[in-house]
Symmetry: C2
Subunit: 369 residues, 2 copies
């Protein structure tokens, strides 16, 4: 158990943005809200997964919806706590810990806001090890089931409860419809589980992993070193491409930001192109000949070439100079049952998962760091 500080929060948000692989919502506002709580004396407690009792009551909290909505409508700040309290009322029992649904992007900061408001510790783990666009794309669902009972809450505190959905896809479909009816963004509390279940179903250590990546990037910036190389090293990833954004196609479809972007290479990639498809998050990258370079669930991270800041799919635009980082996916995502939900076929691609070259990964090293 340790206390979040402003500095570690800042690093965590930078790293979470990178692990968002283009989606997960921008962590900027969530970080501001969490920082205000720290400054006003409301501590944010982080729990190491190993110290959570087997019978502790754990619940996942976060936000749902198209990231672009989050740019136009400021969050109230207590939506996720409101969802958590509604779920407690439904279940007739209080929770002991919260856990991020996804470490990538803004959903990394929402549990910390809940922690500041409620005193509940945030577990250093999550259900994705990155960001994904749909609720069933979660290790909580793949290794646990339906994710219900679940609660959604909007900025007016309208609450919707899902006590017993048949499966996580049903919950995704129905909760997504509510989210769109709530104006495109809502906060959730879902996947209640015990401490023992949490350890079996979560990608562990991802909050501190995000913090380490962010600290490396921030350190390199201060030292006028290469922040992208520093981030890649810490994340166990490697540079896939460096180029300029020459085309962006983006539509808001059924509550998702869908589209693709095209890069023209610079430096050793001059003359090459890279195309990246996204659905909130970056899904697959192809070279100029149409060959796959990287696929989900591996992380395809588009970073500002000058400072390593993540470029999310709702703000990427013509002319930006970017580096594309590939980071191998956590092990729980690449098992056969993991790939059935997280792999390229789950997103409609007629292609198998193409793992990033083995030398990129130091999976066990970085997970135990």
């Amino acid at each position: 158990m340790w206390l979040m500080t402003e500095d570690r929060l800042e690093s965590m948000a930078v790293g979470a943005g990178i692990l968002g692989t283009g989606g997960g919502g921008n962590p900027y506002r969530g970080r501001l809200v969490a920082r205000r709580h720290l400054r006003e004396g409301r501590p944010i407690t982080i729990a190491v997964p190993e110290e959570v009792p087997d019978d502790a009551r754990v619940v996942s909290v976060g936000g749902m919806g198209a990231p672009v909505i989050g740019i136009e409508r400021i969050i109230r700040g207590d939506e996720a706590l409101c969802a958590l309290r509604a779920l407690e009322a439904l279940m007739g029992a209080a929770f002991d810990y919260v856990i991020p649904g996804e470490i990538g992007g803004g959903n990394s900061t929402i549990p910390m806001v809940v922690s500041a408001l409620s005193g509940l510790p945030v577990i250093d783990a999550d259900g994705m090890g990155r960001a994904f666009p749909e609720l069933q794309m979660s290790t909580f669902a793949v290794y646990g089931g339906a994710c219900t009972p679940a609660a959604l809450c909007d900025y007016k505190h309208n609450t919707v409860l899902f006590p017993n959905s048949a499966d996580a896809r049903t919950l995704e479909r129905q909760a997504r419809a509510v989210t769109v009816a709530m104006g495109g963004a809502a906060s959730f509390a879902l996947s209640p589980m015990s401490g023992a279940e949490m350890r079996a179903r979560s990608v562990l250590g991802t909050l501190s992993f995000a913090e380490q990546i962010g600290a490396a990037v921030r350190g390199a910036r201060l030292l006028h070193d290469d922040p992208i190389a520093a981030g890649a090293r810490t994340a166990g990833g490697a540079l896939l491409f460096r180029g300029k954004v020459v085309d962006v196609e983006r539509r808001l479809v059924a509550g998702f930001a869908r589209g693709n972007l095209r890069l023209e290479g610079v430096a050793e990639w001059r003359g090459d192109t890279l195309q990246i498809d996204f659905q909130n998050e970056n899904l697959v990258a192809r070279d100029g000949a149409g060959r796959l370079v990287a696929t989900v669930p591996d992380l395809i991270c588009v970073l500002d070439d000058t400072n390593g800041e993540p470029i999310t799919t709702e703000i990427v635009r013509y002319g930006l100079r970017v580096s594309v980082l590939g980071i191998p996916a956590p092990h729980l995502l690449t098992t056969p049952q993991g790939l059935a939900v997280f792999g390229p076929r789950a997103f409609g691609y007629d292609a198998d998962y193409l793992p990033l070259p083995a030398q990129y990964a130091a999976e066990t090293v970085r997970r135990q760091a």
Copy 2:
């Protein structure tokens, strides 16, 4: 308190179809399910509103969605009971009575199915005195508020709960989104209220009103009399038009059947036309010169010319010979606060409510019958 019989159920379904004003879903299947329960020895109890104790716990049950879905997907039969039980679990208390949300169409039969399954009496009253397409178009909402807590349940028993929506329109928007995600049709339990609140917020006596209309129509059929004239007489309405359907435009939009139909007159209406716009239910009727003939909340009922069977908006088609009946709306719908929700402007028309000529109505007589 009285027990529903097969014969009275049959009459009630015919009358409810007429009061459905083209929508509310076809009562045919609901009646078959209710009849099966009667034949298998599960009684359906009807309670007179006056005998319900002031502190009794009452809840409204029914179905939500585009009527056309109900033609293609057979109901399971216990969806509304499942919604009711989920609402009881949420509120931590059991209900004593059910009340139809709308007497018009299939929603008149669903509470009887719930009664047969649960033993709870059905109150002889409802929240519309007819059928309307949206949840906030209910006297429970106009004279009571948000209609929450509420529960929706689909044919797989997936349940969604709405503990605290800001208002009935918010509930309508969010529950409609869930209904569409549930495949276009779902059953609900909503507007929990006390017996005293029920009496202040309901259109009273509508179940027996429907039964009387249906009995008059059925009696006239047996006696080779004019069933439409008999129905009109009993309902306090009058014939607005008689003609042939020459055009139907119908689209399924956002979970509603929207469109219009055009009639060419026969008998004394020869040479005239009548156009009726609908959103699940018939909303306004205009003559050949475009002048309003009748508007919501008055009932515009399209009946098969040969036997007085109601023609719902999802089955109306070219070539049918029909009579159009106008029935004055219940008083609770035509107060200023009623018209704000039930009047033509609530449906986007730039027109005031045009009450049917006074001689049609014998409001107090028929309501006290």
